[in-house]
Structure formats: structure tokens, C-alpha cells
Symmetry: C2
Subunit: 561 residues, 2 copies
């Protein structure tokens, strides 16, 4: 970089991270020359909003693409060249080869610093028929426009969504709300497979409640149809599969980073399959940076490389690198993989490590399922389930998953903030959160979560998950399971092989139980079970566990296994 001429920054890609980097660089300096090359027509669009345009909640695509090249030029003096594809990089010469897709002309441009923000592409499995008209992925505004046109022109009545991750679920909801009958085909055992199975099973139930034909553990064999369009999706193997008739197929089985330029530049790809970068976005090739979905991040808890392509993280990475290139000191501090998706009437959210991830990372985990209304029921509060995971050795909160009609986003954001500061579960009870019955309960679900986990780890109110209970039983251990609910509640369903002693009788009837045996108390959701647990423990029972999430969680777990 010459000292006499202004810094020249070239950015490849303009969705979230690329434009964030360019804008931040300009905020820091008026003298840099900044050029952004974008293969596509649209820039700086909200990819996460696309399903809502397809569904019609967003009326025009312009709402998702509020900014264009002229806006960027006027505001930031940044040259955004849409319809320009960067086809090659020469990192030694610091040049890129650019093709103007309109004129097919090719030219070279030089850079002092190059930022790769090339994003991801949708994975398209090599299925027979995957190229038929009426088969779509959902990556950019063109896709969304094409899907909505297809739906409206063909008067689509049936759709198949392949893959039940975020995009698949959002599309399923939006298509259903348009009155389209949707079949979801997911190769894994549950929708939303990033969550623990006992949580994602609740997402399955929500889909089915809304008449979605959910086919789990199922693969697509082929897509059927002709030049006139898709007509069906064959599931299972070529031999024994049946065909789901359909007018539309959405393929949402995941995304992969666009690595071509990075590989050409010789940068190292990390263990996650995305570009390895330092906390400011530097690759291991001089003057080449990578930001957004194409680049790797790292987990704030484990410090391990991780790759969770999300617009929120992409924006952060762009801003950090735009700052670093112009002399700033911002550094990425890692992510928690915090995410949320609306699935019909439920918010489905998570942050930090799932139970599975925590166990895989070697933690001795304590697990709680907290089921509480998000606001008092007298003001319409509805049940919110928080599954939280903590490290028994240190008490550190490791992660949380939440599902509920309202307030899940708030609790996950509070817990994400607490985890960021290394929160001990004992801290949560002390948080001074905003209480009014219009917004929360006197003790917030976050407080209860912390109290129960702290009692489990440090107090004597240990928790047992349905999975752990079943493991003990499968191992042939004597387990004394005590249902402390009322007769009325028990009549609605109970944990098999449990004895029934209502809490109000427990002090008097404790003699009927074996104080030396492994004892599990339970109620509907966990609170009365914990009261029973305390009674027995204080009466000298040696090993008393409370069933996490009570009978409600046990039944959900059982039905999912």
C-alpha cells in the first residue's frame, strides 16, 4: 500500500457483511476508495425476510431491498457495481478480474485490501428432477419473486418443503398461511435438528397441529414432473417410496460457503468448511480478509471454530473488518449461535450450547426444563418452556433453548447476555428484570431457571431428565418414582410405574417409601415435584431427584422417542 495514494478497498459481495464493511470503513475515513462488486442485481437485502414476501406478509420485494447502489454512493461515497462478477484473484499482484455481466466485458482492478464477502449458496442435492420448473431454493430476492409468481400464476395448492431448518420452517409457515397444503420432508428425526430432540419434538407437534404433513427420517428419492412443472416428490427409496403430489417444491437442505475466490487466493479453509479468519477477519493471505457467511466464527464458550451463517453475525463481522482495515481496533468476540424462528404460534429460540453439544464438548451437565407462564395467566400469559444447560463443575450457564407463544425472544436474549459475561447459574436469580404483570411474572422464568439450576448443582434439589430416568431404569436400578400431584391431575396421565402420594400427604406417608432407594418426585411441570423433593430430602432420604419439567416434559419426551 503506497503511502502517497489513498487506501483502495475492494469488497466482493454486497448482501450484509460486504456493505457493513464498506460503510464502516467510510465512517472511519473519507479518503479511502471503496468499490463493492456484486454479481447479482440486489444489494444489502434482508435474506431473512424473503419467506415473508413469499407468504405475503411483506407486500413488495422493494421493502426487503431498500438500498441501491445510488444510495450507497450518495451516503457513503462507495461504488457498488451490481451485475459485476469477480472471477479471479491474484493475491500476489493484488488484483481481481471482474466481468461485467451485462456487456460480458472483463477487466482488472487493483486493491490494497480485499474483503471477501461472497456468502453462501443453497445446497441442491443431485436428485433426479431437481431442475424441473417449480423447484426452488430461497436465497435471494429473485428466488422469492419467482416463487411468489409461480404460486400466483399456477394457483399452487400443494407444496413440498425439503428440509426443516430455519428457512424450511419459515417457508412452511408462510405457505400454509397462504392456504397451501404443505408436506415437509426431513431426513433427520425431528424438525429444527439444531436443537436437542426433546425440544425439537415440540416443533414437530406445532407443525402437525397446523395440519402440516411432516415426514421425519425420510429422504427424497426423486422429483417428478415435466417441462410444464413439478408434479410430485417421491420419498424413500426408488423401490418402496410413495409419491407426494405437489405443485411446488422448496429445497431448503442447507447452505455452503462460496469458496471459489478464497481457494484461488490460497487462503486456508477452516475445520468448519468456511474461511478461517482471525478476530478481525484477516485470512492467512496478506491483504485478503473474509467476512460474513463465507467466513468462520468461533464459539464464545468453547473457543472452538464454529460456522452459523446468520445475518446478525454477518453484519458484526463486516463492521469489525471495515474498522480493522481503516486502523480500528474492533475484534470479534465469538458467537453463541443465538437464533430464533417463528413457527406458527410459537417462537423457537436458542443460545449457547445444547445439551448434546455440551456433552460432546465434555461438560458434566445439569439440565433443567422450566415450564412457566411468560406473564401471569390472569393477564393471558402462556406457557414458556426453557431448557437450560449448565456445567456442574463450575456452575456456569452453557446454553438455553426456549419455546413459547410469547416472551421466548426476551428470555433468550437475557440468557445470551448473561452467558456472554460468563454467568454462574446462581447469578440469574439476582437479575433485576422489569416486572409488571403486563410483561412478566414477579419471579421471571429467567429467575426460576437460575434458582432451579443452582439448587440442583449446589443445593440439594437435584434434577433428573426423562432420558436419565429411563437410563437408570433400563440399567435395572431400583427407582422409586413418586407422583406428588392431586388425584385429578394423576387421572389425566402419569409416569409409568410411579406411586401416587399427593404432596399434602407426603409428610405423613413418607414411611411408605424406602429412604435409601433412588427416589424421583414429579408433578405436572416441576414446581410441586420440587416441593415434594424438599420434604423427602429434609426427612433424610438420601438420593431424591426432581423430574425436570415434570410429567408434561416426560410425556413430550416419551412421544418423541
Amino acid at each position: 500500500m503506497s503511502t502517497s495514494s489513498p487506501l483502495k478497498i475492494v469488497v466482493v459481495g454486497s448482501v450484509a457483511a460486504g456493505t457493513s464493511a464498506a460503510a464502516k470503513a467510510r465512517r472511519n475515513t473519507e479518503t479511502a476508495r471503496i468499490t463493492v462488486y456484486e454479481r447479482d442485481h440486489d444489494i444489502s437485502y434482508s435474506g431473512c425476510g424473503l419467506p415473508y414476501f413469499v407468504g405475503g406478509e411483506v407486500e413488495t420485494i422493494d421493502e426487503l431491498t431498500p438500498r441501491n447502489a445510488a444510495w450507497f454512493k450518495a451516503r457513503y461515497d462507495v461504488d457498488v457495481r451490481t451485475g459485476h462478477e469477480v472471477t479471479a484473484v491474484d493475491a500476489a499482484a493484488r488484483t481481481v478480474t471482474v466481468r461485467d455481466l451485462a456487456t460480458e466485458e472483463t477487466f482488472e482492478d487493483t486493491y490494497d485490501e480485499l474483503i471477501l464477502a461472497t456468502g453462501v449458496r443453497s445446497v441442491v442435492p443431485p436428485l433426479p428432477g431437481v431442475d424441473l420448473p417449480g423447484v426452488f431454493t430461497v436465497r435471494n430476492p429473485s428466488d422469492a419473486r419467482a416463487i411468489r409468481e409461480w404460486i400466483e400464476e399456477r394457483q399452487v395448492r400443494r407444496a413440498v418443503v425439503v428440509g426443516a431448518g430455519y428457512i424450511g420452517l419459515e417457508m412452511t409457515e408462510q405457505l400454509t398461511e397462504r392456504g397451501i397444503e404443505v408436506t415437509v420432508i426431513e431426513a433427520l428425526e425431528h424438525a429444527m435438528p439444531r436443537m436437542d430432540a426433546d425440544m425439537s419434538a415440540r416443533v414437530d407437534a406445532e407443525l402437525r397441529k397446523h395440519d402440516v404433513d411432516l415426514r421425519l427420517g425420510t429422504r427424497v428419492g426423486a422429483i417428478e414432473g415435466d417441462d410444464g412443472g413439478v408434479t410430485g416428490v417421491r420419498v424413500g427409496s426408488a423401490d418402496d417410496g410413495d409419491t407426494v403430489p405437489t405443485d411446488l417444491v422448496i429445497v431448503s437442505v442447507g447452505v455452503r460457503p462460496n469458496l471459489e475466490l478464497a481457494q484461488q487466493a490460497g487462503v486456508t479453509i477452516g475445520p468448519t468448511g468456511a474461511i478461517a479468519v482471525d478476530p478481525q477477519g484477516r485470512t492467512d493471505v496478506a491483504h485478503v480478509w473474509a467476512v460474513g457467511d463465507v467466513a468462520e466464527s468461533f464459539n464464545l464458550i468453547t473457543d472452538e471454530p464454529t460456522w452459523v451463517p446468520l445475518g446478525s453475525t454477518a453484519n458484526k463481522m463486516g463492521r469489525i473488518t471495515g474498522d480493522a482495515i481503516t486502523g480500528g481496533t474492533l475484534e470479534h468476540r465469538g458467537i453463541l449461535g443465538t437464533s430464533i424462528v417463528r413457527v406458527f404460534d410459537l417462537a423457537v429460540a436458542q443460545t449457547g450450547l445444547t445439551e448434546d453439544q455440551a456433552r460432546a464438548a465434555g461438560y458434566d451437565v445439569e439440565v433443567l426444563h422450566n415450564i412457566k407462564p411468560d406473564r401471569p395467566e390472569y393477564l393471558g400469559g402462556e406457557s414458556l418452556l426453557i431448557k437450560a444447560v449448565a456445567d456442574r463443575a463450575t456452575g456456569r450457564l452453557l446454553g438455553a433453548q426456549a419455546i413459547g407463544a410469547s416472551g421466548a425472544d426476551k428470555r433468550i436474549d437475557v440468557l445470551a447476555t448473561a452467558i456472554t459475561y460468563g454467568a454462574d447459574v446462581a447469578d440469574l436469580f439476582h437479575l433485576d428484570l422489569a416486572y409488571s404483570p403486563t410483561y412478566a411474572t414477579t419471579k421471571d422464568p429467567v429467575h426460576y431457571t437460575g434458582m432451579a439450576l443452582d439448587n440442583a448443582i449446589r443445593g440439594k434439589a437435584r434434577l433428573i431428565t426423562p432420558a436419565e430416568l429411563d437410563r437408570h431404569r433400563a440399567d435395572g436400578e431400583k427407582v422409586q418414582v413418586v407422583d406428588v400431584r392431586s388425584a385429578k391431575d394423576r387421572a389425566k396421565g402419569f409416569v409409568e410405574d410411579s406411586v401416587h402420594i399427593p404432596l399434602a400427604e407426603l409428610r405423613a406417608r413418607a414411611g411408605e417409601l424406602d429412604p435409601a432407594a433412588l427416589t424421583v418426585t414429579y408433578c405436572n411441570k416441576g414446581v410441586t415435584g420440587n416441593a415434594g423433593q424438599n420434604v423427602l430430602r429434609n426427612l433424610g432420604f438420601e438420593q431424591v431427584y426432581n423430574l425436570s419439567g415434570g410429567n408434561k416434559n416426560y410425556q413430550a419426551w416419551t412421544s418423541a422417542h
Copy 2:
């Protein structure tokens, strides 16, 4: 306390803190004998829910009083004696004198540990007519029942609410939603006077938007009426006041701790006027503890004694003392005064120090008004205003106030959590919060708040509040105010004596400005103003400030002063 007999705990008061203390003590030990004396009939009720019973959002009072003495006995083996008033304490003898209000019999009871949870009473100013039928305070279920009966029997059409704090505002909303015309009389200059004036002015506007007759800076001279009931409220002085005709008066001018027993026991009252306690709830008299609204707390930031009577804090204090009395180690960690109230279509929330409080505490404060949609506008997101205050010397976030149609509770809880961990404003940008356009923007309002404050303190994007701008002008300083908006936006209103140079022309026309003068850029809400600020600063302007919250905040401030 004898070692041979079980610990005997006496609790006076059973609303929130008293029952929390009793329950926690029992969870820790089966052997203690625990008695709770309650003067009233109802126990463990949701005081904060009372206005919603009056308004009819809550149908029956039973929903607010779900627990009774029998429930406590069955669940916790705690004897709750309602209709029993503790009339005296002998701390040396460790006895209390109790009167059974039904039989008028008086007896003595002994204790090993005494917990005062005597709560607060409503302040009733000594006004002429304050005892007339139809004049109410709102403390307990009996009050709420009486008010609702009065409204229904009298077919109340007009009400006067005296005092515009939490209860006053909740009652105003609920009465209005019943179709009653409400006049609010507040002695201070704004509704919600706990907030900074530039925020509470927005509460004033919301009340007026809903046709509430809001009379600020106004005192009640007398209440008029006869044995048949209240007929009017005379405002102002006896001489020049006018009379507001009314069928109902709600007096909500504050609460005061019930200190009689504490004073009799000889415990020290703290500087806030509530009982001084240590972090476990001990008073300075042996074996006498105090919890809940009657006791003092301390501010987590300043460490100073503070008194903010709220159910959430009362519950915490009760649990902590219940634990401490039975050998636990829980300690109160202080509060942030976090609170929230719904005022018609807005949530009004705050945590930590206000600007006024921070200045009074001696901080050199940086102040930001961040105005952003809580979700993308394409999915119906509405404007959310966050006023945040930070310490310039250290970058520490000191407090936040938020007003908006949705999402204010979430952001205040996230910021309260961050403040609890001593967050630097630079931390906020890095928080990995849950993003989906159905719940948040890609960069969350919390991120923007942190970025702008960090830029103001550590970067070069300094902020100026409307109040500060006016102070500079009043001091006769030359201030060059630059409106960087479009002509269309400017036509709708602008900061007086500002020059108009749209951002897109600013680079070219910067020569029209004096680079040595104090310069203030602004736009509608702050973002474009910041872009203009960056342009000028990078072009060598020495002192460029961005107007916090833009023209929108300036106009709100101007109309409030």
C-alpha cells in the same frame, strides 16, 4: 435459641416478601416451626394486578389471590393466620403481641427469629374531603373490589386520578378502557416523574392521545361531595382553582413503609425512610429481620441505599432472608430500580440510573437517544426509543430508559443484565442476540445503543442532547447546526437556526461551513446525522456533534420545556 427445640420463625405480613421468606425457610428445613401473621384477609396476592381487576382485564379477584392459608399449610407446613395483627414486639424477650381481629382477643407468641414484612401503606394527603365515599387508594384486593363495585353500582362516567406514578398510570389506562373519562392531576411537571423529563414528556403525550385530561404541575385543593359520594376535585389553591366534576377519585400519590413495629423493636431506619438491613435482611436488632417493601435495598451501581418498593424485589428479599435464617448463604446483590408500566399502546421501562440521577451521583455522562424500529418495518416494526446513559470516564453503561409499542421490555432486560455485569458500552455491539425479522432487526436496538455510545465516548462521533445544544446557545456560543436531511423532511419541521445541506451534497458543500466552529449535525432520528458528522469530522472539522435522537427528539424535548 435453644438447641433442643426446633427453630421458631415468626413472620409479620404475607403479601410477597413474607410468604417468600416462609416458603424458602421451609424448603431448607422440615423442622422449623413457621408462623405468618397477617392483619388482612388476603395473602400472597398480586398487588400489581389490582388495576387490571378494576379495569376488567382480570375477571375475578380470585385470580389475583390464588393461594390461601390452607394451601400454605398443605404445601409448606406453614401456619398463616389471617385476620391477626401483630400489635407489639419485645425484641429483648423475643415475643410479639398478637390480636385476633375477629375475637379481639390478644395473645403473646415467642420467636427465635422475627421477620418484618409489614409492607407499605398508601399515602393519603390530608385534604378536605379525602374521606368521602368514592375516594379510594389502590393497595389490596379489598380496595380493588370496592372500586369496581363503586364503578358498577354508580355507573361511573368520570374519574380523577391524583398522582401519575405507576399505579396512577395503570388506573388511568384501565379506567379509560372502561369508557370512563379520566382527569389526571400530577403535582410535578410530567407523568412518570421517576424518568428524565425528555422521556416522561412522551408519557404525557400518550395520555393526551388517549383523551386523558392531564393536568401537570397542579395540586389538589380539596375533594368535594357529601355522604352520597364525591362530586368533584378542586385543583389549584382554594382561591383560584377550578373544580373537575367527578364520580370517583383515585389517590395514588405514593406509598410509605409501615414502620410501627420496627420502631417499637428499636431497629434503625435508613436514609431512605425504610428499614436499614444488611444484604441478608438483618436489622441492627438481634433476631429481627426485615424484607420487602418495608426494607431498604441498595443500588447495584452506586452502592447507595435505595428504596424502590416493587414486587419483584420484595420476592427476592424474602427468599434471601428465608435462606439466611435457615443457614443459607444467599445475599442481596442490589437493585437497578428496573421497572416497566404499560400506558395504553406504549411500554414505558427503565433500569439503572437516569441522566438526572447519574449527574447527581457525579458522573460525567454521555447520553444517547436511540430511535429505531423494534423489528423491521416491513413486518410491522414500530419505533422504539431508548435513552441510554454512560460514564464518559470509564465507558460503563449506567442506565437506560425505553418507550415503545413493543420490545421495550426485552431491551431493558438485556440492558439490565449487561449493567449487572458492569458492561462497558462497547460490549453491547458484540452481544449475540436472537435475530429474525419476526422478532428483531439485524442489528438490534441494543447494538445500536452500544455502538453510538462507544463512538461518542471513544470514537469521534460525539453526541449532544437537545438540552446541551440549548445550553450552548443560551451561553451565546457560536453553534453551527446542520440539517442533513432531504428537503422533503426539512419541510416538515426543523431545529431553529439550522442550515440545510442534504447529506448527499455535504461533501461538495462542506466549504460553506466553518470548520473551526462548534458544529451540530442532525437528521430525523440520528443515523443520517451521524453519517454527516463523520463526513465533516473526516474532512477536518474540529468539533462536530450529532444531535441525539435527531429532530424527532429535539421537537419532543422542546415541547416538554
